[in-house]
Every structure is written in C-alpha cells, then in structure tokens.
Symmetry: C2
Subunit: 159 residues, 2 copies
C-alpha cells in the first residue's frame, strides 16, 4: 500500500545543513523561521492565530535512507529507530512543536524551529495541551542518557 | 512534489466506524488496542518498552477528501482546518499520544487509542516531555469552546 502526500508549504529556517541543526532540545529554542503556505491552502489557516504553539509535521527530505538501529545524538548505544527521534526513519516524518509568533497572509512566523531550510510541510495542527501533554510519563533510555549528558556538558541543564 | 510513504504496520482498535470514535479527549482514555508492526520493522522497536507513552503517526485512511473550513466536534463555527484536529485534512496524518502497556514480538499493546480499526501506521516515536510539552500554551478558539462544552455537558470536566 502506497500513500501519497503533497506538501502544503515549506519551512524557511536558519539551518542549511544537517550538521549544526538543533536536536530538538533546548538549543532549538528561540531559533526563528517561517512556514510559507502555498496560496491554495491559505483559507485553512483561519483561527490559527489564537494558538501559541503549533504542531508541524514535515517531510524530512534530507533523510534518504534509514537503519532500524541508530546511534542517537544523546546516547552512545545503538537504539531501535522507533525508540528515538532520529530523522532517518522508514517514513521520515518530522514532528516539532513550534511557537507561533504571527501570521501574515501565507507566512507563519515561528520560533523554536529545528527543521532544515526548504523542508516540505505536510500538516499544521494546533498544539492542544489536553491532547498532547502527558503528566508523569517515563522516557526510557533517554532518562539515563540525559543524566550522562548533564554530567559531561551543561547545555541541557536548563530544560 | 509527490511524497510516498509505506505503512510500517496497522492499528487494531475497538472503533470500527467514524461515528462513535473518540475525538481525542478524555473519552479516548483507556480505550485499548494494539499496533501490529510488520515483521521487517521489528528490529526498530528495541528500547521502546522503557517509554510510558508513544507518538503514533497514522494515515487516516477513512478521510478521502477535505475542506479548508471545517466544523470541529467541539464548536459551532467553521474554523480553518489547520486550526483544528479534524481528520479530513489535505494530508490526512493523524497524531495521537498513546499509553504503551507492553510489547510482545511485533505487537504493541496500547491504551488511549482514538484511531479506527485498520488504520495504517506511518511512524512510531517515543513521547518525550521536553520535546513535546509546552507549559503556559494558549489554545485559541478551543478555550472558548471548551468552556461552552463544560456548561452543556460534564464529560470533559475531569481533563
């Protein structure tokens, strides 16, 4: 079964290469960019400006292949790809929660961006706390990895 | 630009028809189901069992068409589709956070399911609080709609 999607727009981002793009932690915070939505979809943006955050689903176009075991940025052990947020996945769909700073015509001004310049956008959803937040969740291997990182390097400490 | 994806598995759910399927609020809580992952992807499930919650991205196969303005379940006014979580979207990708209860071989036992039986699964990601939670977010039209609903009907009160 083949599923076909068509981009509804594109991300404009300060990140041009995979190297140096934030790994969806505190480093991504405040990086600014835009989503340019194709004209034919503008009507679908109505009522979005009341939301402070958006869920962006994008096609990670730079991910041309995948492995089922990957070495995550935050770890030193191979992990199953579905237990990571690594971009190279069987269906390379990226999910990020970004801050919505404003909308002008077909341009969404956003913050906390961790997508590459030119990333095709598949869907925009409002971020809704009662759908998307889970209190008291456990984060598997990431919990240990985070502790390690905090010892070696303070950059994630404030998260 | 056409983007092609192939399902990595399928959702088994108690919800057979669109009518009666929860709308991703408290009613979805505790509904049980499974994700059956195709054999060729099983290796990618390693290390997932330490996470209490998963992000499921699915192809909403029952959504065959879309409008840019939709009447959300929780409202009485037409809203831009990208300001709603309605299933009929230009690229009908469903996003749900589900509880992971256990993994046996290629079967993930999950709770809090709001997908239809037979929904193709595109991606499984670990739910990670520091990536996916946003404190102090604003929820636009949904804030007013929720108040209305609480007056008319107590079912969302406990959320």
């Amino acid at each position: 079964m083949q599923i076909e999607y068509y981009p509804i727009g594109v991300v404009h981002s300060p990140f041009i290469t995979v190297e140096g793009t934030p790994i969806q932690l505190s480093r991504a915070r405040q990086a600014k960019g835009t989503v340019e939505v194709w004209d034919e979809y503008i009507e679908g943006l109505s009522d979005l400006e009341g939301f402070s955050h958006l869920v962006l689903l994008c096609h990670l176009h730079a991910s041309r292949d995948y492995n089922l075991k990957v070495l995550p940025f935050l770890d030193t052990e191979l992990r199953g790809v579905f237990a990571t947020r690594a971009p190279m996945r069987p269906n390379p769909i990226g999910l990020s929660i970004v801050k919505l700073c404003g909308i002008k015509a077909h341009t969404l001004h956003i913050e906390d961006i961790d997508f590459l310049e030119g990333t095709p956008v598949l869907d925009i959803k409002p971020y809704v706390g009662e759908f998307d937040n889970r209190a008291g969740a456990r984060f598997g291997w990431l919990e240990g990895a985070r502790k390690q990182t905090e010892v070696a390097d303070a950059r994630f400490k404030a998260v």
